[in-house]
């Protein structure tokens, strides 16, 4: 398998641990169908070599993916994509929860009332949506 064509990019400035980046990119690959359900995926060592990262980092990503029901690993036989992979929004869900938590805390710190904080969030949503819509409508 030519791993370079699978387009994994591990960033050292991303801030998130490398194993999380690997998990996310494997999920994307499965979500778009590049790695089909039930299909064999690279071994831990193969992927480590291709990504030029340590075996232990890829191993951790695979263990996590297994726990989440995304891949199935049979001892000595390698790993496959689960027949019914659960690609649920867990990863982003967790990130969102952290950001909201942070917003609530900093809001409190700055003495912003809950009502004002809610309004700030509404403004942020509106400005995001309007800027995105305007770019989408351009030819």
């Amino acid at each position: 398998m030519d791993m370079h064509s699978t387009g994994f990019v591990i960033s050292q400035t991303d801030g998130r641990p490398m194993y999380l980046q690997i998990i996310e990119q494997i999920k994307q690959r499965i979500a778009v169908g590049d790695w089909a359900k039930g299909e064999e995926i690279p071994s831990i060592r193969q992927l480590a070599v291709a990504l030029q990262v340590s075996v232990i980092t890829v191993k951790r990503a695979y263990l996590e993916l297994e726990r989440e029901g995304v891949i199935v690993t049979r001892h000595g036989k390698g790993s496959t994509v689960a027949a019914d992979p659960d690609l649920g929004p867990r990863l982003y869900e967790r990130e969102l929860a952290q950001h909201l938590d942070q917003a609530a805390r900093i809001g409190d710190l700055l003495g912003i009332s809950p009502k004002d904080l809610q309004n700030r969030l509404r403004d942020a949503i509106q400005s995001y949506l309007s800027s995105n819509r305007s770019t989408a409508e351009e030819p």
Partner: protein, 298 residues
Amino acid sequence: MSDLAVHFSGVGKTYPHFTLDDIHLELPTGSIQGFIGANGAGKSTTLRILMGLVHQDRGTVQVLGHSMPASQVAAKRDIGYVSEDLRLYKAATLAWHMSFVRSIFPGWDAAYAEELARRFDLKPEQKIKGLSHGQRVKAALLLALARRPRLLVLDEPTTGLDPVARHEVLGALTEVLADERRTVLFSSHNTLDVEQISDRITFIDRGRILDSDDKESFLDRWRRVRLEVPANAVLPEVPGIVDATRSGRLAVVTTDHYQPDLAAAYQKAGATVFAVEAMTLEEIFVADVRSRRERKAA
């Protein structure tokens, strides 16, 4: 077969101005171990003891099942060693070195050697004296890799390399591990390289091992916690705090044994936790070295 490729136990060596003491190292077969230390910390001495080039005063060293330095001849057949001084003959060509190494080591893989020369952008007909520092490092690495040794010992392999050459060298090192019977030990003061490709990490400072663990545990254990502490509040004593600085109401606490209940303990004491930050290996190394040196000085 032992599943430890390298095992140091209580190893020490005393020089007039430097003492290497109580070195314990365990390197499981099939892994890459990064050995991090400042200049003069004892990295090279440790690697030379491993190679039987320096004899320890105390302790035992097992390498690939051989006792060092007593069985170094047998052990060295399966070890590829690249040191900082490189030991290449300046007047000879790379091709001459290749056929020389091939004549000594029957395991020489000529096809792999040619492939490495291509990938490293080296011309075998070129004389060593005409090569840049980076090209010499890559040439020495080629000579070690093409023997396909079971253990690769590399002293600062990426120091002084340009970004492209560094990338080529790191790639070649991770490829070695596609074969799970092979093991790599490399020293570096470039924590970024170590963080990227190592399975296990050992810190050394002033002749002693500070810490040794698998990389994921290392990165998981260390956290920096940013807090706001009311003037009258006292932060609880928690084990595993490496460093705590307070200026006004703001405090930064560094721990090498992070648990989620740490944040809870601080909240309970009246502090507000702003952030729990992961640290890079470089930040971890510097924090570890500093706190140990301070504790020793105190």
